[in-house]
């Protein structure tokens, strides 16, 4: 059993082969098939890859990720392998190319073990919206693992792979990380190329890693980050050495007052936050409450803008060029309508309808343009905080993982993301650290958010916080 890359490397140095490591993970996946974390295991190609990496290790020219076994959220393209976004509409789709982030992992000799269940088109906070069934939380199988990257979180939590990739549009990496006691990173918008990520909301989406150690999170970011000819929103800023953690100097840390005062936040989450604040103060850091009276506007703004972008991005599914086509279809219009209505699940259709509404001629200014204006207000106000502070800390989720089928109202489900959508609305990097342990035994995350492209500060502080907390 290899929970992190350090354990893998230790095994490698004692003579265990990558193939043997892969086989250990494969049997672990088999034992845990009831979690429904993997939609498909790439058994043949992962073994082939492992043999090649073993050869490279012998020859002394293996890459930095030799021995790391990675699972991909089912919305990341890997050439010659299926990718479905957990949707009927893409059920038999095969990737024609490999996305940039995935390619960079392969170039450093990571092996890809399979694709992981998620909410359909990454829309959801519980992984109950997958067309291929819900994922169970390995810590307690009656609970959700969070979403939308629920399969990735569950797989890393249960030790079914060394690390996994997810995507985070409003919390889809950090919220499931909180629910499964793993590390989940959403980098700055533009830090990792989105080429080869099936789009949900393009001005929000970011790829990021799930890991069982902060070192592995930093390493994967370091390898995946950097500019890319296939994504013009990917930044040209140089990639820093995130893996060399330095002890931070005395810091100024902001706590969003409203995040601790909002109704519905578990009292144990609040007391953990207060405990961390006290420890940081004792270590000589300045920790101050900052009022940010926009908390209640964030999730509505997020839904105006992401549903609009989703309705546009998902218009490509027409039943003609690829994906599902209704057998009922006669004529062009009916081909579109029947294929889409039969192929998309209820939550995806709900969001396409909401997004089409806010983009429609009559309501565009009142909703979509208004949402973009509020987004600027949120970003400016957040930038103001970072003028005076180095970092911000807040809970990742209001509570611990909830029961499968417990949250039925869409709006209540949307409010799951109350503390995570901030970073996506403003583009900031944020990480969920598994620091909380509830009296029920369940984990919960503490979130650290940094200024744009300050991932280096984020990792320095996170590794330090783990030490002292």
């Amino acid at each position: 059993m290899y929970q992190n890359f350090a354990e893998v490397k230790k095994a490698l140095s004692s003579g265990v082969s990558v193939l043997e490591i892969v086989e250990t993970y494969l049997s672990k996946i088999n034992e845990n098939s009831d979690l429904n974390a993997f939609l498909e295991v790439f058994e043949e190609t992962v073994k082939q890859q492992a043999l090649e990496v073993d050869k490279k290790i012998k020859a002394g020219n293996a890459g930095r990720l030799a021995g790391m076994v990675i699972g991909l959220k089912d919305n990341l393209c890997y050439k010659g392998h299926k990718v479905s976004a957990s949707s009927q509409i893409l059920q038999n789709f095969e990737s024609l190319y490999t996305g940039t982030a995935v390619q960079r992992l392969l170039d450093e000799d990571a092996v890809i073990i399979g694709r992981l269940n998620c909410d359909e088109f990454a829309m959801g906070s519980s992984n109950e919206n997958s067309a291929f069934g819900p994922v169970k939380n390995p810590i307690n199988k009656n609970l959700v693992p969070g979403g939308s990257s629920g399969g990735s979180a569950a797989a890393v939590c249960a030790g079914l792979c060394t690390a996994a990739l997810g995507s985070d549009t409003g919390g889809s990496i950090r919220q499931p990380a909180s629910f499964t006691g793993t590390f989940g990173l959403k980098p700055t918008y533009g830090r990792i190329s989105r080429h080869g990520l099936i789009a949900y909301a393009s001005s929000f989406d970011q790829i990021g890693p799930f890991t069982n150690s902060i070192e592995d999170s930093a390493l994967l970011l370091e390898i995946m980050a950097g500019c890319d000819a296939y994504d013009s929103t990917a930044t040209s800023r140089s990639v820093e050495k995130y893996t060399s953690f330095e002890k931070p100097e005395k810091l100024k840390i902001a706590v969003l007052q409203e995040s601790l005062e909002t109704e519905g936040v578990d009292s144990e989450v609040v007391s953990k936050m207060n405990e961390i604040i006290e420890k940081l103060k004792k270590e000589g850091h300045t920790v101050e409450n900052v009022s940010f009276p926009y908390l209640e506007y964030m999730v509505p703004t997020y839904y105006v803008l992401t549903t609009a972008e989703a309705s546009s991005n998902l218009s490509r599914f027409d039943g003609v060029h690829y994906g599902y086509r209704s057998s009922e279809a006669v004529g062009v219009e009916a081909t579109y309508i029947n294929s889409r209505s039969e192929g998309f699940g209820p939550e995806v259709q709900r969001r396409i309808m909401a997004g089409t509404f806010v983009l429609s001629n009559e309501f565009y200014d009142a909703y979509y343009t208004k949402g973009q204006k509020v987004r600027r207000v949120l970003r400016d106000k957040t930038d103001e905080i970072y003028k005076n502070f180095d970092l911000m800390i807040l809970p990742t989720t209001p509570s611990t993982a909830f029961q499968i089928n417990a949250v039925k109202d869409p709006i209540q489900m949307y409010l799951q993301d109350i503390f995570t959508v901030h970073a996506n609305l403003t583009g900031n990097p944020a990480i969920s650290l598994p620091l909380g342990k509830h009296s029920s035994g369940l984990p919960f995350g503490i979130q650290v958010m940094a200024n744009h492209f300050k991932e280096k500060d984020l990792f320095n502080f996170s590794s330090y916080l783990i030490e002292i907390a």
């Binding site: 095969e94 001005s203 013009s232 839904y303 105006v304 060029h321 259709q349 709900r350 089409t356 949402g371």
Partner: protein, 96 residues
């Protein structure tokens, strides 16, 4: 903002989706809830605020226009629900 049957029909047409019977009742209710949730935004003063459109600070990322084969015809047709050797096939458009 109240979502009516007419609005549902109009939006469904734009989105190329269809909702009939119970599904229509459900989507109307969901849209009413979601849109009234979105209505919260009107409370935020945004006079003289420009909409934030681009999240990336990269401006005009350009590259040389070099012709390369990105997808072959065979690859492009690979995932088609119906095809022949050269074309996507679609259901009949005309009756004759």
């Amino acid at each position: 903002m109240k979502i009516t049957d007419e609005i549902v029909d109009h939006i469904a047409h734009l989105a190329r989706l269809k909702f009939e019977g119970d599904k229509k009742i459900a989507i109307k209710e969901d849209m009413n809830n979601i849109i009234s949730f979105m209505d919260k935004l009107s409370e935020v003063p945004t006079d003289n605020v420009e909409p934030l459109i681009f999240m990336s600070d990269e401006i005009n990322v350009l590259r040389e226009d070099i012709p390369v084969v990105s997808l072959t015809q065979t690859e492009a047709l690979k995932n088609a629900p119906k095809k022949d050797s050269d074309y996507f096939r679609i259901p009949k458009v005309l009756d004759k």
